[in-house]
Symmetry: C2
Subunit: 282 residues, 2 copies
């Protein structure tokens, strides 16, 4: 069956796979200095944000990605106070991070201010904490920012970036990982979205090696469902010095905020990998 | 971006979602007495089997579905000997079941013999055990077959059916569940593919109630990744009398056959559900 032009389609060329959401109308389109930003109103997923034609999030299912990019690392760190988000201009990760009352400061560094302004307009639910006094929204180059941050000053770095093509590519490099390792305190933790294990297995393998080359002793991939990213199967990869499978289980169980996907058992379960992935990452 | 006619597309109408695989050519097309059977050669997923336009399996990722529809229930049962597969005409589930040496007899009951003949031709890897002396391939109505099977005679029933629309619908009914409960021994176990928790939450909720109305004391949903089913997020639902989260962990760890997705830790992890699903099924 062919789709008519009432559908938004994203093609994952290297796997000859595509997925589509039926749209009511396009709400916004602009070319920022960095990328093409578009917002659609869909039939069943609420609003949809795309950058250069690639899905960033929908109202309906972004809760999974944002919860799983933040709560696992924040409950793995013993006492996260200073948090940095690289990318994340839609502010969804920021909102989840700020649910942790112990967090004292969050720097969100996205090169493209227009993404945040568009999110404020079309995804207001994600932006309700942008004016939190602990939130610092900076619109500059995250790589340069990371070079200039004092060493041993950060507890948690979350890289909520686009795919490793175009502007996001340097965020998957050994040089960037080494800068992050330098900026982190000795017990600091790093996490990065790391694509689909079915579609981008080579990338996942090389990420582990590159993170280790950048100075991280330990790396750990975990997985979650994300229906509006190609294959519906997504991962984050943690890096640090200690055992990345241990976390503050009781604190996660007794947290004083609501989550729709994350719970401490899901956290444990997400760290369990299927055989082919264990073998690929061995 | 629009897809041209070199793509196979499946539309999930109730969620206004679609996914597509790029195809090289159509290898086969026929109208059986029950459904339209088509086979495509795809660019990146090997061969693709569809029934009435809906994806049944691809060479690339069917291992996940077939492993997860068989090994969890077979390692939950203490000593499965008599196994019934309702549907499953592609023979992929049968092949996984027969890896368990303790299994003495498997009845595979698919109403449409043509599905099996097409699988033998285009998915020979799935059909290598069709002539195993323990395998009994029957081409008849699974509901009628289940009515006539002696009570308390079966250890495990696996319902590997199409969606609950059209011919598969009756396989989601209280009457069918009651027949299965009757056919099972007191410690017998039932499992059925139970769709996407994101897209078919109402179905999943009603399935638990209907299974219980059909006579099963306990029900338990578990989840796995399945990129070529809508949303990429799929479930099986177990039913029986005892604790369905306990299983023969050591036997699963020491199994004498290879799996590419399943391992005992994945088994445990698959039983852990995210908050919204726990709430929906509470």
């Amino acid at each position: 069956m062919n789709l008519d032009n009432t559908w938004f389609t994203e093609i994952e060329k290297s796997n000859n796979f595509a997925f589509s959401l039926k749209v009511k109308r396009k709400l916004h389109e602009e070319q920022s200095p960095y990328q093409k930003i578009e917002v659609y109103e869909t039939e069943s997923f609420g609003n949809l944000l795309t950058l250069d034609g690639l899905t960033m999030l929908t109202d309906r299912d972004n809760f999974i990605y944002h919860e799983m990019m933040t709560h696992p690392i924040l409950f793995t760190h013993l006492n996260p106070k200073q948090v940095v988000i690289i990318g994340g201009g839609d502010c969804g990760a920021l909102k989840e991070v700020l649910k942790h009352k112990g967090v004292e400061k969050v720097y969100q560094i996205d090169i493209d201010e227009r993404v945040t302004r568009v999110a404020e307009q079309f995804f207001p639910d994600l932006c309700t904490t942008n004016n939190d006094p602990r939130a610092n929204l900076l619109f500059e180059d995250g790589i340069k920012w990371m070079q200039n941050v004092p060493e041993n000053s950060i507890d948690v770095i979350i890289v909520d970036s686009t795919d490793p093509i175009g502007p996001g590519e340097v965020l998957f490099s050994e040089q960037f990982y080494a800068q992050c390792r330098r900026a982190l305190k000795p017990d600091g933790l790093y996490v990065q979205q790391s694509e689909s294990p079915l579609f981008q297995l080579n990338l996942l393998q090389s990420m582990h090696k590159t993170l280790q080359a950048g100075g991280f002793a330990m790396t750990q991939t975990y997985q979650f469902f994300q229906c509006t990213y190609p294959s519906g199967w997504w991962t984050g990869t943690l890096a640090g010095e200690g055992d990345l499978t241990e976390f503050r289980y009781e604190d996660a169980e007794n947290k004083d905020f609501t989550t729709h996907y994350y719970n401490p058992e899901i956290h444990s379960a997400s760290l369990i990998l299927p055989n082919f992935l264990l073998e690929a990452l061995a």
